[in-house]
Symmetry: C2
Subunit: 425 residues, 2 copies
């Protein structure tokens, strides 16, 4: 990192020693997974920079925002509407994390048999090593799964958590309930920020967040090409950074990258061999620095063409209509947009399996890899529905259950290589 | 069993060979756990008979009910209102089961890392060994946990399942949502049974189910005595049988037993040594024949005075007001009663921890044993809240995580004995 951020980290109450250890892990991993890729687009430089400054420059920006009276709101889920937070002058940051941390502290409050993502976010809090979390004025939790729902009760012992109740079905009355939940959320955000949300501010933030989505959609559209102008790993990285970077800058950088990628496509430049099997990745979200499975897949001669997950298409595939007039009307559009997210928390969740079939066709995929975090009941069980549907459509599927550890990498590599060989033949 | 029920089982489509194996397991277990108890009340004879006839007489009654045009509705949760099913002339039977079964079949559709209860009910269906399940015209599922919620999607491949959406909080709008959910449920039941629910039929069924609850409350009241007239194991058995036995007969039998128990109290007759430590059991439900932990506790010199669980107090501790006039008003009373259930599906669920403190006082308990099924996130995580609250009130707690296997019995026994020694001292 460029500057000396230690005084800032200290003022945020971080455990500097533990934090140093964490920061020492990231660069070698990133070097291995990202910087050794051949034929990378030049414009990936910005995203490399963002990762390099992950606990530096962006945190400094959050502090400057707070110094001017702005609020920072943290979330662990793509159901938390960024539009509402921004319309009240707040910044929303995604807090999910993809690394084992603070296990000793975490296992005092949480069971061992719980998914890595939840252990990780609790570990970051208890070990005091996440400057994003420590910058937050409010955490917004949600009820998407039992693990998170109940872990937020414990997290609330350490930091204020407002929990959004996500309905478990998507019938008309569930949509109505969800709309009411967002009406309450809007009031909560107004109270926390001390700023009234107006039709103007909400319309502006809808447009800004849509612009981010459009940039990501533009990027993803380019991944439908036979010769891919960008790797799946780089795409995942961008989708991860989308969750906490400055919205306007990020949008502009992604659009800049897309210009380069469009040129590449025109010039017939790509990152893959033309016959490389094309994979769609689906399942539980992959938070920074969880690049394990993507790296294994792309190191095995395949390319990932789309991520049907929360760190992926679900984050940006639907826009909020921009023609709303009143706050309530816009809120209705927001509610309708977010409830389309094909999370396994819904029963049933046919939208996801139908989407997978559609994506496999649109992205000319040769196979799907369904990757669940171990102990994630919604996705582990829903894998059965995915399996049945893909079988009906003759789309090959590999099911993986893994965690944030590296112990299973060898075994996963063998299974992924075998799957890729199988779909090649 | 008294009669030859094989033709009936065959007509229900059971796998007779697998079913024989299952039935061979129960009697020796029951003999060891129940029949060897000293100083049992005479009136336990009825409940021994019910267990002896578990797949016999009661199933025959269900078939006779169906032959007369009645419907049988199965449920896996105490949130499913028996009053509504009965008011339409139906019979509600609890289908939760407490034994490992059909693992080979189940692991083809469900992940391995899932709680025993869910594996068990799926196993009973896939192995075709549960005459209750095979007697059901409709299964009512619910969204109390991720595992069940998602497993019902798979169960629905084999038998029609209507899923009740349980809200995840208990604010006014959640209560309103729940009321609406029961309004829809009432219509579903009317459609399935072809019978209109009237104020008269609903009032009658409210009274009948309340009578069952009052009998169980009367029984539990007797467990507050220093000298217990009945063991915890026998009480648990009765609470388990409550879920599927004929309501009126069961009520009358429990009241008959209570008369004997009241005499015993008067005569100073009990099942425990006066200095035996008194334990409250709390956590995940214990379905027949899951008597493992209760047996370990009571074989270690302690007595169980109450079960703060769904197979226990939560099933009967709140009555539905009987003075409702319209169906809608009664339905409102029913909704309000059921949502009081202190299930760990709610966030927060302070009602449960407050109740535990109250129970410990009322039942003069020396300690609490919190028993969760392994992989049950809601209860495993909520154990932290239980631990904190009981610590604040100086109530000793032992936390156990177990499954339906017997492999951990030795280790559990050691831990339970150590806990009992500790609270004695």
């Amino acid at each position: 990192m460029g500057n000396d951020y230690r005084p800032m980290w200290e003022s945020l109450g971080l455990d500097l020693e533990a934090h140093d250890q964490l920061l020492n892990v990231l660069p070698p991993t990133y070097g291995d997974v990202y910087l050794k890729q051949e034929n990378r687009p030049d414009k990936m430089e910005y995203f490399d920079f963002v990762i390099n400054e992950i606990h530096g420059l962006r945190i400094q920006e959050l502090q400057e925002h707070k110094a001017k009276g702005g609020k920072v709101v943290g979330a662990y889920c793509v159901f938390v509407p960024e539009e509402i937070v921004r319309a009240a002058g707040g910044i929303l940051v995604g807090l999910c994390s993809g690394v084992e941390i603070g296990s000793a502290q975490t296992e005092k409050v949480l069971p061992k048999n719980i998914c890595s993502l939840i252990k990780s976010f609790m570990g970051f809090k208890l070990a005091r090593v996440c400057p994003y979390l420590e910058s937050c004025d409010l955490i917004v939790g949600e009820t998407t799964c039992d693990g998170k729902k109940k872990a937020f009760e414990i997290l609330n012992d350490y930091v204020p958590v407002h929990v959004l109740e996500i309905p478990q079905m998507r019938r008309e009355k569930d949509r109505q309930f969800w709309f009411g939940e967002l009406q309450d959320f809007l009031k909560t955000i107004e109270e926390y920020t001390g700023k009234k949300i107006t039709p103007e501010s909400l319309r502006r933030s809808i447009k800004e967040v849509n612009a981010k989505r459009r940039a990501l959609l533009r990027l993803n559209e380019l991944r439908k090409n036979g010769l891919l102008p960008i790797s799946g790993k780089d795409s995942l990285l961008i989708e991860q950074i989308a969750m906490y970077d400055d919205v306007d800058r990020f949008t502009s950088q992604v659009n800049g990258l897309c210009e380069e990628l469009e040129r590449r496509v025109g010039e017939g430049k790509g990152v893959n061999k033309p016959d490389a099997p094309r994979i769609i990745l689906t399942g539980t979200p992959m938070a920074i620095p969880n690049w394990k499975v993507s790296h294994l897949i792309e190191s095995s001669g395949a390319v990932i063409v789309a991520e049907e997950m929360c760190t992926g298409l679900r984050y940006f595939e639907n826009l909020v209509p921009e023609e709303g007039e009143s706050v309530d009307q816009m809120l209705r559009f927001i509610a309708d947009r977010y409830i389309k997210t094909n999370c396994a928390c819904f029963t049933p969740n046919e939208g996801r399996t139908e989407e997978l079939v559609r994506l496999a066709k649109d992205y000319k995929a040769n196979g799907v890899i369904n990757c669940s975090l171990i102990f994630c009941d919604p996705y582990m069980i829903e894998a059965n529905r995915v399996e049945n549907t893909l079988k009906d459509h003759g789309i090959p599927l590999l099911r993986i259950e893994t965690d944030y550890g590296q112990e299973d990498s060898g075994q996963l590599k063998t299974r992924i290589e075998a799957f890729i060989e199988m779909i090649k033949g």
